[in-house]
């Protein structure tokens, strides 16, 4: 991860600030930085979004392509995640530099989104056992300012809200052969139901307390963190501990209480934003501002 070098003094300053519930940029421990979301920025995708969380910038493109369903679930479509740590975000990611992190995060997403009822996977089926929609969700990290997983999950939810899947009709001829016809009507599409899509909330343990949405500097002071995926009703769909230090049972409990509270707020905030921009197809992208 993009590194910042902090002296002991600076670290102490940050840790003391967190103890007093006042962080470097004036936030409390449970506040997120300002979030900007825009949908429909890449016109040759089925759905896309660009999200800026202060210094962290993420671009998500979703392509719906036809593929073969997995043998263990012939009646459903599926998702494929790929996280691209672009060298734009940090020279460290040049060449194969970001591969390990990318692998780690893609798996995290894949695991959380495997849960059956997160999306209506059956609506992605075209011909059972033969053909289904595969949603390739590609996440590109463009600028690295801390709290990557949360930003990516927010952007993924926004991009899913923006995704249009063409309507298809299956024509059967007299010999029993099947032919797939994709609607060429620009309005012939259906959208995904995203109310159950979870968001990641990362809680970083700093000193005796924990914070959400840590900046790069705060991440440098953090010994261990807990990544929790929360859905809009506040239920947890997965969690994982990261970092090299240990967490006590009590602090995990405290973190989960915060995660639930913050997660619900985050979902509410994003849903209001998406109701304004979610379906747009003409994002101005990077030219804004």
């Amino acid at each position: 991860m993009a590194s910042t070098q902090l002296s002991d003094g600076e670290k102490t300053f940050i840790i003391h600030g967190v103890l007093d519930n006042l962080r470097n940029d004036g936030r409390t421990c449970e506040n997120y930085r300002q979030i900007e979301v825009e949908c429909g920025v890449v016109s040759n995708t089925s759905g896309s979004s660009r999200l800026r969380l202060s210094n962290t910038e993420v671009l998500v493109g979703i392509k719906a392509e036809m593929g073969q369903p997995k043998p263990q679930s012939p009646k459903t479509g599926f998702l494929e995640f790929f996280v691209d740590f672009s060298a734009n975000a940090s020279p460290e990611f040049e060449g194969r530099g970001g591969n390990d992190l990318s692998e780690d995060m893609s798996t995290r997403f894949a695991e959380v989104f495997q849960t059956n009822n997160i999306l209506d996977f059956e609506s992605l089926c075209i011909i059972p056992g033969q053909c289904c929609w595969v949603l390739y969700i590609d996440i590109v990290l463009l600028e690295c300012g801390g709290n990557l997983l949360d930003a990516m999950s927010l952007a993924v939810k926004a991009a899913l809200a923006n995704t249009r899947i063409p309507k298809v009709t299956v024509l059967r001829d007299s010999e029993g052969g099947e032919d797939i016809e994709v609607s060429d009507d620009p309005d012939g599409y259906h959208t995904l139901e995203i109310s159950k899509v979870p968001l990641f909330v990362t809680l970083s343990k700093i000193g005796q307390k924990h914070v959400v949405d840590a900046t790069l500097e705060e991440e440098a002071c953090c010994s261990a963190s807990l990544v929790v995926s929360v859905n809009s009703s506040g239920d947890f769909t997965g969690m994982v501990k990261k970092g090299s230090s240990s967490l006590s049972n009590d602090s995990i409990h405290d973190m989960l209480v915060t995660a639930k509270k913050v997660g619900i707020q985050l979902h509410k905030g994003l849903d209001t934003l998406l109701s304004e921009v979610g379906q747009s197809t003409a994002g101005r992208g990077f030219l804004v501002g």
């Binding site: 993009a2 890449v42 016109s43 040759n44 995708t45 896309s48 210094n55 910038e57 671009l59 493109g61 979703i62 392509k63 392509e65 790929f82 691209d84 672009s86 060298a87 734009n88 975000a89 940090s90 020279p91 040049e94 060449g95 194969r96 390739y136 590609d138 590109v140 463009l142 600028e143 690295c144 300012g145 992208g285 990077f286 030219l287």
Partner: protein, 246 residues
Amino acid sequence: MSGLELLSDQGFRLDGRRPRELRKIECKMGVFQQANGSAYIEQGNTKALATVYGPHEVTGNRSKIEHDKVLINCQYSMATFSTGERRSRSTGDRKSQEMQLHLKKTFEAAILTQLYPRSQIDIYVQILQADGGNYSACVNAATLAIIDAGIPMKDFVCASTAGFVSDTPIADISYLEESQGGPELVVALLPKSDQIVEFQVNSRLHLDNFEKVLDMAIKGCKDVHAVLTRVVKDHVGQLASKMSKT
């Protein structure tokens, strides 16, 4: 040539442009705060992002250090969703590596490399959406990013393409025009001195027509230059007005 009529009898191209018209160019400098320089450009539906880090100490292999000039390090990548069909990887394939080499040579010719011996400049470009003219979009974006980083260059580097359809040279060809198999000329130019720093012709082109097509590509570069100059002046103007307020 196949069924598509690239140039209608009335002299219009598929997207409604005249032969000599470029696609609409929109750009923005300074899109990121962490990089030393960054820029974003849209040329029609081709969208590219460039960031510049440096000059800084040489990272990685120390044998790459050059004692009389700066080491220029380029990476070209294409987002997996940038093309019509999804790509399985964003970087490292042969085409990207070739592009990387071309970009490196282009900017070695333009940057005043002798000013920073034993250092390194990283130029990273990424195509977010591909619709023809990827190389030129990258060069133009990288030029803006280098200017944003304040690295001295001999001149802007402006790149553009030209094609040749039914005896008419056409400027700034799109993916559709590119994929029909006609000739494609790629030029990167230092506009003030009319020096060509990168030049490539794909496919067959008769020598009699060569001059015309080259002129069209050079004209394209100069038009791009006019747009880029305006963007840089606007950007610097805004910076200046912000500074004077504080």
